[in-house]
């Protein structure tokens, strides 16, 4: 079996072996179009690697953990992360390695290359899905190239590919990946060209940047853009970009550098060059007989075509498909750095100040009419912040993933989540809150008189330090019994929680600052020079994302709390004339009832409870996602509302639909966590890792299949939950 083919030896029968992208390049090379030298690694190499190492079934097990439709996007990241690690940690069998190494050495002899994906069938189904698979620019040396080939193979199973798994027909037994190893052309101007504009079929489009085009492709560098008339080749419009930076080849990979003033002031192409590029893409279109999208670069005045793909319609941007938003979450380091500035510099301060203003307002002083207006104002404020949360805060959380990938690439750890250990420990509001709880519990533990007084219901006056903490806690973190839609409890519940915490051994965070610092140094020691600086920035971004991931919900929770407080004040006033009916009013209805004393909400006839189905089936064990290593067993505490959370006892397994950071105060008492939502970035998983508590996420219907009191075992290594029912089955 030959695993490689030179570009000029590809025959039509090789099309499926080399993939669509490589096949197009080979035809362009034969036609005499200017394309770089390349060596093609056929899909046979991928298939024999899977066969030789046996990882094919490991991939199948990973992506079949549960029914595809039930997998959340975050679970797909996790599956993709684990599959990627599988490829990273599984070396090439000696025979495949020897043949690839020989061919690479003969073709490139130390020259830097670009390693690109070329999926078979790419010019049909996958063509509409640009950017599913990975490419690596500026890779030097046989070992490094062989490594990147494995990563390109792994990207056949990327999160985005898994998201569109059905459309792509992804299947372990049938799908394969070919690779293009292409000589790097370090152009001084680069871009993409569309022979037909996606917006107007009588026009073509050229986009260009200074330097390499990776920044344009991943959205971190804004391009200049020209629209041309297809018939005459006349330039119809030119949109200038801000041109602040450009990407260039570094020691390895690419790096962003600020543009010197002279270049920043100059468009990457002059009108003559725009036409040159346009003519080239029209040539490519004519050659293939269909509209094309071409990546190009210009080095020392010579145009080079890097890849060409047919332009297709449809694909992931189809209107109304929520997955299109998920795809926008894949962002580059540069993009996320800019987003972090925006979030930390602009959104967080504004959000905190809005929350403070809400908390400071005197709602009781408002007239009914004014209160109704205030409820509506707070509703739209909450909606505004919710939009910003989705547009900026959630995307920023992806800095965690970006760092995780860099960490795994450098250290290839056995545990693909080891990188999370470098992120935790500091500045998370939920941890500060839990530390304060732990301290209060410690005072109770050390002062039997205080415990006794609290049990009797005497809150203040026994222990001054405790009283101060208690007061500070209520002031800073509010009522623990507040869920997302209602409040419960009061201080009694907090005291009960503290007494139970005091009775249990104190919870410990897994790492102190020193340990985290040592891990950080071990990570950075893997890099040298500029790469170390970049790794350090990547970690810094990861940490900021991680903090924000937890804190943003707490900030948003305060805005929401402000809305709930105004609604609660409205309901208090309405309870006089509406009685119990006022309790179930929504925010809109509360405002309306405040304005119009005669108004009454219309309520449908309550439906009888649906009969329990499948009562003769009982789940005994389910596989979800391993999210916090360790194993634990104990009675289940199923969380259906905030009141359940305050009931938690030491050693119980916390079972819930989804935890938000406002709920994680209960976690230090839990022996294990089971959650319906899946993914490594969910709050339950983050906080579980902080305390070293075994955690499994992505268990379908967790809060329904488990009942409080069932004995539950949580295997956080393998992601398995076993349920031993409290009551016998038959």
């Amino acid at each position: 079996m030959t695993y490689t083919l030179p570009l000029d030896r590809v025959e039509p029968r090789d099309r499926e072996r080399v993939g669509g992208k490589a096949y197009s390049l080979s035809r362009m090379a034969r036609e005499g179009l200017p394309v770089p030298e390349a060596l093609l690694v056929t899909a046979d190499a991928y298939r024999d690697y899977l066969r030789g190492t046996g990882i094919g079934e490991a991939i199948a097990l990973e992506i079949n953990r549960k029914i595809a439709d039930q997998m959340r996007w975050e679970e797909m990241w996790d599956a993709a992360l684990r599959i990627r690690n599988l490829f990273l940690r599984t070396p090439l069998p000696a025979g495949i390695r020897a043949e690839l190494a020989r061919a690479i050495e003969e073709s490139f002899r130390g020259v830097a290359v670009v390693v690109r994906s070329s999926a078979p069938g790419e010019d049909s189904a996958t063509a509409s899905f640009a950017g599913l698979h990975e490419s690596f620019v500026n890779v030097r040396g046989t070992d490094a190239i062989l490594d990147r080939i494995r990563l390109v193979w792994a990207s056949l199973w990327s999160d985005a590919a898994l998201l569109y798994r059905k459309e792509l027909g992804l299947d372990v037994a049938r799908s394969a990946m070919a690779v293009i190893v292409q000589e790097i052309v370090e152009g001084d101007r680069s871009g993409v060209a569309f022979s037909v504009s996606p917006e107007n079929p009588s026009q073509g489009v050229i986009e260009a940047v200074h330097g390499l085009n990776q920044g344009l492709v991943d959205g971190s560098v804004e391009p200049d853009r020209w629209v041309l008339d297809r018939g005459s080749g006349r330039i119809l419009s030119h949109r200038s970009a801000a041109r602040q930076k450009a990407l260039y080849a570094g020691d390895s990979g690419v790096e962003a550098r600020p543009l010197p003033a002279a270049l920043a002031a100059t468009p990457p192409l002059d009108p003559e060059e725009v036409l040159l590029v346009f003519r080239a893409v029209v040539d490519v279109e004519r050659f293939f007989g269909s509209p094309q999208d071409v990546e190009w670069t210009i080095r020392s005045g010579r145009l080079c075509l890097l890849q060409a793909r047919p332009i297709t319609t449809g694909g992931p941007t189809a209107a109304g498909d929520p997955r299109a938003w998920n795809l926008t979450l894949r962002r580059s380091f540069e993009n996320l750095k800019a987003l972090r500035q925006e979030v930390e510099g602009r959104w967080l301060p504004a959000m905190t100040s809005d929350a403070r203003a809400l908390a400071g307002a005197d709602l009781e002083a408002l007239s009914d009419e004014e209160l109704a207006a205030e409820i509506e104002r707070r509703q739209s404020l909450h909606a505004k912040w919710n939009d910003i949360y989705y547009a900026a805060f959630i995307p920023l959380a992806h800095g965690i993933r970006l760092f995780g990938q860099a960490y795994n690439d450098a250290l290839r750890p056995e545990d693909p989540y080891e990188f999370m250990d470098l992120l935790g420990g500091t500045e998370m509001i939920s941890l500060e809150r839990n530390r304060l709880l732990t301290r209060m519990a410690g005072r109770i533990r050390g002062n039997p008189g205080l415990a006794e007084a609290l049990r009797r219901g005497t809150l203040a006056g026994t222990d001054t330090a405790f009283d101060e903490d208690f007061e500070r806690f209520s002031r800073t973190f509010g009522d623990l019994g507040c869920g997302t839609d209602r409040c419960f409890s009061g201080q009694g519940a907090l005291v009960g929680l503290l007494l139970r915490m005091a009775a249990a051994p104190p919870a410990r965070e897994r790492f102190d600052a020193g340990q985290i610092e040592r891990r950080r140094e071990a990570f950075l020691a893997r890099f040298e020079g500029d790469a170390r600086q970049r790794a350090s920035e990547m970690l810094d971004l990861g940490r900021a994302s991680y903090r924000l991931r937890d804190n943003d919900n707490i900030h948003l929770g305060k805005i929401e709390g402000g809305l709930l407080a105004a609604v609660a004040e409205g309901k208090r006033r309405l309870s006089g004339r509406m009685g119990a009916e006022s309790r179930d009013l929504s925010a809109e209805e509360t405002a309306r009832a405040l304005r119009d004393p005669a108004w009454r909400p219309k309520r449908g006839v309550p439906r009888p409870c649906a009969e329990e189905t499948g009562a003769d089936l009982r789940v005994r064990q389910l596989r979800g996602q391993p999210a916090g290593p360790g194993i634990a067993s104990g009675p289940a505490r199923v969380i259906s509302g905030p009141e359940d959370l305050l009931e938690i006892r030491a050693g119980e397994i916390l079972v819930c639909d989804s935890i938000d950071p406002n709920m994680t105060f209960a976690v230090p008492l839990a022996a294990g966590i089971v959650e319906r939502r899946g993914g490594m970035l969910i709050h339950g998983a983050i906080i579980a890792r902080e305390y070293g508590i075994p955690c499994v996420t992505g268990i379908p219907g967790a809060a329904e299949v488990v009942r409080t009191g069932d004995r539950v075992s949580v295997d956080g290594w393998l992601g398995i939950v076993t349920i031993e029912p409290r009551l016998p089955f038959v």
Binding site: G54, G56, E57, A60, L61, N64, R65, K66, I67, D69, Q70, V172, A173, G614, D616, L617, R618, V619, R620, Q621, L622, R623, P700, G701, V705, L718, I720, T722, F729, V730
Partner: protein
Amino acid sequence: MEEMENLRARLDEMLQSQRLAVLSTSGAGGAPYSNLVSFAALGTGRLLFATTRATRKYANLTADARVALLIDNRRGQEADFHEALAATALGSAVELAGEERDRGVAAYTAKFPFLEEFVRAPSCALFRMDVERWIVVTRFQNVIEVSPLP
């Protein structure tokens, strides 16, 4: 949960399409003993299997009626790990006689016409297993208990 919704149908289908099962009995001192038997299912609550009387499993069944029966649809390929369904029936077995044996033989030979001589032989015992519950495994590690339907 989709898995739960069509699980019963998948189990029924497997009981009809599979022919062989692993029968586990207990020997002297409770020592476990397993062997392959052909089986016919009457719903999910009753399973028929046959054995000649000189066998070790017959001796075991005579001494201790408790049995487990494992039925699965693996194809002997790697993909079995994520695709195969495996179901273990727990319960007890009783040897059939008289009219009930005649009805059992009819059901058994309807599925295994080529075993008619075997099952009708005077030396062959036909057993009915009464299933107390099923333990069904899907996707390698998801386990669901299913109560039998008559």
